[in-house]
Amino acid sequence: MQDAYSRRNFLKLSAALLAGGAAIAGSGTRAEAIGHVAGPAQRVFEIKGYCPFCQVRCTYKARVQGGRIVSLTGDADNYWTGGAMCPKGMSMVELVNSPYRITEPMYHEANGSWRRISYREAVGMVADRMKDVVQRHGDKAGNRVAMTMPLWDCLESEVAALMALRTVGCVQALPPGETCVSTASNMLGDMLGVNSGTTQVDDICNARTLVLWGANVSDLYPPYTRWLAKTREQGVKIVYVDPRKTRTSMWCSQQLRPVPGTDGMLALGAIAYILNKGAYNEERARFQIEDFDNLKPQSASATMDKVASITGISEEELGTFYETLAASERTIVWLGGSLSRQSNGIGTVRSIILLQALRDNLIGQGKGMLTFQSGKPGGIDELVDHFFGENATPKLNFRRIRLAMEKGRLDILFLNSSYRRYPDARGVRKAIEKVPFVVHMGFFLDEESEVSTLFIPAAFGPESAGCGYGNENQLAWREQIVRAPGSCVPAWQFYRDVGRLVDPRRYPDFEGPEDICRMMQAHVPSWKGITMERLKASSTLVWPIYEQGAAERKGTVFSEGRLLTPSGKMRVQDRVFGGINRWTYPKGHPLGRKASKDFPLILLQGKQLWHWQQTLTNFTHSMGQFSNGRFVQVHPKTAAGLGLQEGDRVLLETAVGGLEALVEISENVRPDFVFTPANCCRTTPVRENCSPSICDILPNSWDRISAQHNGTGCRLRKI
């Protein structure tokens, strides 16, 4: 008989277990430690690893006993973290041993049941499909295949996967950041010639002013709080722009709480103020801004009273902020992801970058821009091209891929990580359901498994060696710490095995990540100095290093004293994106032109400190113990107006759907918006983390680059 199970079985079991759990926990006597307790006689080894979640990329020492990880401790040698870690990272101990983990490949039958298959069978099935696409579509095959990233374990897995795609001429690997930092990344690339932060986090100590523009550092990158604390101790003025009071508020001397979605107006106002005051060096500004003369007319309408009325910040507070900017000799602006998540983000980010250029705050020590989720060492495409030739096919963004899926023009989707990161997630799901062959490499029976044809059980980082990379362009090497259970494989292995079957002639031969890493060192100039020996001996190593033995490059990227765009300048009036003078509210914003009166509150969603996206951490009890499932933070005035009390159940509704939430009343939000966490997922057995995805109820709004996650109108109804 075939091995099989159905979703109903899954649900029934879940329900039964939940009921049992409730009964037992109610008595208050039972609890289990999830970590592994080995016998006292077994020796303890310490092995270095790194966290797979955020781009702080904390390195740690794993204590391993009896072949299992017993605990993690932050790596005190890590210059960037100082040995700190956040709770998410430590949940890896639970994840690797999770009882919910699926450890064998499975094929999803048309009737919804799963059939267990062997790893060889699974790889063969994928390779056959790939060959079939080539046979049917020839040199057009490439755009019939797509992959969503990230791959969870290491940089080498990414290389192996991109090469597997290239065996059929495909370059459609969708960067995850497309929906979180893409606008900022693209605008930084366009205007500064570098699509990430222009300096490193330790440089904030050299600034006079640090503006955290929507950058909730302490919740998103907890270990980087030490840099905030140090900066404050050194007398640097920290200004935090965020409608919400958060942990980051603790480190700031001023917080501005604008109406969500109006940051662009705040930045325009700053430009106008500085121009009016003459608080800039025109020669330096012209050195960086090609059409400097456009700046004044394009910002002129952002008068103090207009900015105050749109942002909801008093003129007095605005005056203090603008005066700080006008007087500061060295300012670093840290851009938060939320600016990229509103459909007016392009103009906003452009205005902020222009503001920095106007004040000559881009080039030099203690100056520049920082971002989240940046810092990706270059060279991967170079290596892939080395084996597969230069790529001439344009890369498509997710909107185009979604359209292809809806039109039945996509034959294979490699679904790594979560489709629920895209707004209108239910629409995305429907589109995916039109793809005849969806391969999900994952860990649990989650929303992605539901829409996939084939489930490939993935290995967690500690189960394979490889390089991780982080926000500071730093690399960290990890040895294999423990063995993966069952048939779980690291992504590099799966994609290598597929690639070899599809195109054994071109797919390079490698045994593991170390071989790929050596290939990078051999074929990519910027990796030449990143030798295996040096990687293994260092806690972290900052890319690029062009020569063996050369020092790591730290600080500003503008070491030649000019911007890195071809002309060394940026433009106010961009040929593609226009000027900065057409400020509007984000799409669907309650105060926008076409706003519906039915949805008067602004919806904001964001990360919670102990969760990463909608995926892995939701499956852990260690993080569940801190969670409250889906909640909405509501200001006391809003709550009073709606007759809501702490703990009430409400329906959180937007124009495209609704979901249930618990009310938390807090003055940390403004009366005009509600906040809800971004992480929850529907399929987790951990009740405290369980809720449909927030993206289920977000409309499919995009600007020209990224999707809108924040700023749409919503309402709350008591249920």
Partner: protein
């Protein structure tokens, strides 16, 4: 002999709870229970809306828990820490009731009293896990008799504050630095210490015993792969219909950028 003290700069605590999970893992404390804690006090003038106070066993002098123990399983050691010899502990719970800080609990796995031991039981000679992982370095631990130690330095230069439950007569050694909220704890039982009590909105949420789920989960996943009989089939779940909204109109660029996830 060393004289261990933990000092806490609670104004730096941002309530990330890294210390709690680090301790749970290092010392095999079941999730849901904890040897250490973070007390939240709502405060509208505080930048984040709360004042946070991390805590753990206060390693008191002349501790009431030691006086309460009928088997002498717990004692005040000459290194300044209050210790438990689990081989002598009968799990009677007297010490748990006697501790005015609720720093002790009955470990359901060992059946004995459990509390902070500065990680000396799990990783002797190492910095306690909570101290090692703290992103803001708000916990400082070491030998107060060693003038070169960081803890001796802060104890000498900063204002020490001992948080004492009213009328308890407790003599804690855990020292807060300069300021902390609250400075006095109410008389009698304070809040209990399961992690649940540290969650925002804890009262509003029904705690549904996820811990037990984990224990049974192994069977559960085996069931998925080797069920005894094939269940009646149902079509793959279809998402509820969505209303088409703004269709993709503009051609976007999908420039690869430096984001991992």
């Amino acid at each position: 002999m060393a004289h261990y003290i933990m000092a806490i700069d609670s104004e730096r605590c941002m309530n990330c709870k890294a210390c709690i999970i680090a301790c749970q893992q290092r010392n095999h404390v079941p999730y849901g229970l904890a040897r250490n804690w973070i007390r939240e006090t709502a405060c509208s003038t505080a930048p984040a809306g709360f004042r946070f106070q991390p805590g753990t066993c206060m390693h008191c002098d002349d501790p009431s828990c030691v006086r309460a123990c009928p088997t002498a399983a717990t004692w005040k050691d000459s290194d300044g820490s209050v210790k438990i010899d689990v081989s002598r502990c009968i799990g009677c719970g007297s010490c748990i009731k006697a501790c005015p800080y609720h720093a002790r609990f009955l470990n359901p796995q060992s059946g004995t009293a459990d509390k902070c031991d500065y990680c000396q039981g799990s990783t002797p000679g190492e910095v306690p896990a909570c101290v090692a992982v703290c992103p803001t370095h708000c916990r400082i631990f070491g030998d107060a008799d060693d003038p070169g130690s960081e803890v001796a330095g802060v104890l000498a230069t900063r204002k020490p504050i001992h948080v004492i439950p009213k009328n308890s007569g407790a003599r804690p050694t855990l020292t807060y630095l300069d300021a902390t909220t609250p400075e006095i704890l109410p008389e009698g039982p304070t809040e209990s210490r399961p992690v649940e009590a540290m969650r925002p909105m804890a009262k509003a949420v029904t705690w549904i015993g996820g811990l037990v789920l984990a224990a049974l989960g192994g069977t559960f996943v085996r069931q998925l792969l080797w069920p005894s009989a094939r269940e009646e089939e149902e079509p793959a779940a279809n998402a509820a219909g969505h209303r088409a909204s703004n269709r993709a109109r503009e051609e976007g660029t999908a420039e690869d950028h430096r984001g991992q996830s």
